[in-house]
């Protein structure tokens, strides 16, 4: 009759059991951590995507500025526009109060990076605006 010390089997069983349980619990912990990290990463990703779209996209920024300048009330008041590197310099003149308000409303309520802005009002019917916007 084959006889084996049960202690060896129990030890092997206990050791294997402990190893598997330890390995599984470690893996479970890693999964929970990774899922939490993924959730945080996705949140950051969405935030960064929005921030980039709003403030850091050259194409989007250029399109937004051109949309403002193509407004029928403003387009004829554009005296000069010049893209140099990452900056867009625009000069408008002869704006009346209404047109100035329209320009400011679009400029200040849109996601456009303003580097420099100069507004000079000779009188209510002759306002000139020079701005340097970042693309």
């Amino acid at each position: 009759m084959t006889k084996i010390n049960p202690l060896y089997i129990l030890m092997l069983l206990a050791l294997t059991f402990v190893l598997i349980v330890y390995s599984n619990s470690k893996l479970e912990k890693q999964i929970v951590e990774m899922q939490a990290m993924n959730s945080e990463l996705e949140k950051s990703g969405k935030q960064i995507k929005n921030l980039k779209r709003n403030w850091d996209s050259k194409e989007q920024m250029s399109a937004k500025i051109n949309t403002i300048l193509s407004d029928p009330q403003l387009t004829k008041k554009v005296l000069d526009k010049n893209i140099k590197g990452d900056t867009y310099k625009i000069a408008l003149g002869g704006l009346n109060d209404k047109e100035t308000d329209l320009l400011m409303d679009k400029l200040l309520n849109g996601f456009i990076t303003i580097n420099l802005l100069s507004i000079k009002a000779e009188n209510d019917a002759n306002v000139s605006v020079v701005m340097e916007l970042e693309l």
């Binding site: 009759m1 084959t2 006889k3 084996i4 010390n5 049960p6 202690l7 089997i9 092997l12 069983l13 294997t16 059991f17 598997i20 349980v21 390995s23 599984n24 893996l27 479970e28 890693q30 999964i31 990774m34 899922q35 990290m37 993924n38 990463l41 996705e42 950051s44 990703g45 969405k46 935030q47 960064i48 995507k49 921030l51 980039k52 709003n54 403030w55 850091d56 400011m104 200040l108 996601f111 990076t113 303003i114 420099l116 802005l117 100069s118 507004i119 000079k120 009002a121 209510d124």
Partner: protein, 319 residues
């Protein structure tokens, strides 16, 4: 009652020595670990000349030498080479442990076990163990005999006094009595396999989940075009948020400046935004109004400078 004396000499011996025979009656008065020297009543011994040279080689033969003479049982063997002869020992671990336990000696208290055959250092012919048994020396092999056949035996206590350091430690498997039938063994193995399968499946499932989480992470980074390290990611986020904050602040200041409550006849002449500064020029009707406007501006902005030249008020606000 034969109460053997424990030899306690900590200067020469690590542990107290105790001689035990099957007939010994033991009363242990100490709890510290002890070394036990067993009488021949606990083992079988043969002195043989074998056609081998090493103890290692002799150990391979010892089972077959004892097999014809021992009762059926589960034995362990020990071999000592002395004076060109091999002394072969057979002993039953379970019997030794259970007998010692029956005499009140716990296995946890036993430091080591020795056989008297290997430790005795005398040329005496006989040794007296107690009133019923003794040991006889036959050609260097000590065996148990009833006391009635022995005369003038040296007391075992005297022999024990001569043993300073026991030499041949015997390996006793205290778990040898825990044996399993094959059917029980198969049940345990089956349970073990079942457990392995359950936890193995769980492990496999967790590995897949981990792999999915890893893929998801790469996908998120790819979808949002995120940098590889968390430091770069935090840096990018910080820069974009700082830019947004600066632009939001700039707009708030411009709106505040353009919405100052000007009276009829008052108007702003110029507004310029430079790096960290907004400058505004307002044409006033009365220069005294400058103080009122200054208070209004100061409520929400940090004024860098303010001056009034004729009726023109020049204000510079920090962003």
């Amino acid at each position: 009652m034969n109460l053997h004396r424990l030899t306690k000499d900590f200067l020469h011996k690590k542990h107290p020595l105790l001689f035990v025979d099957k007939t010994s009656k033991i009363t242990l008065l100490i709890e510290e670990p002890i070394d036990i020297i067993l009488s021949p009543s606990f083992y079988w011994v043969r002195k043989e000349e074998l056609p081998v040279k090493s103890v290692y080689a002799a150990k391979k033969l010892v089972a077959s030498i004892f097999e014809p003479i021992l009762p059926e049982g589960n034995y362990s063997y020990h071999v000592v080479k002395r004076d060109g002869f091999f002394e072969l020992f057979a002993y039953d671990d379970v019997f030794i442990v259970s007998t010692l336990e029956a005499k009140g000696i716990k296995t946890s208290q036993i430091n080591a076990i020795y056989f008297i055959q290997n430790e005795i250092n005398t040329h005496e012919k006989s040794v007296s163990i107690n009133e019923s048994v003794g040991m006889l020396n036959t050609n260097g092999v000590w065996s148990i005999l009833p006391a009635q056949y022995l005369h003038d035996g040296v007391p075992i206590e005297t022999i024990m006094e001569t043993i300073e350091h026991p030499k041949e430690k015997i390996s006793i498997d205290i778990f040898k009595n825990f044996v399993l039938e094959e059917s029980q063994l198969y049940k345990i193995i089956a349970s073990f396999v079942a457990l392995m399968i359950i936890y193995g499946v769980e492990h496999w499932s967790l590995k897949r989940e981990f792999s999915t989480a890893s893929i998801t992470q790469y996908k998120i980074m790819d979808d949002y075009n995120l940098p590889k390290t968390s430091m770069q990611l935090e840096g990018l986020k910080r820069d974009l948020l700082a830019e947004e904050k600066a632009q939001t602040l700039l707009r708030q200041e411009i709106k505040q400046m353009l919405s100052l409550p000007l009276l009829e006849g008052e108007r702003w002449n110029e507004l310029s935004v430079k790096k960290n500064v907004i400058a505004l020029s307002i044409e006033l009707k009365d220069p005294k109004r400058a103080e009122e406007l200054k208070k209004i501006i100061a409520q929400k902005s940090q004024i860098n400078s303010i001056k009034v030249v004729d009726t023109i008020m020049h204000v510079e606000v920090k962003l």
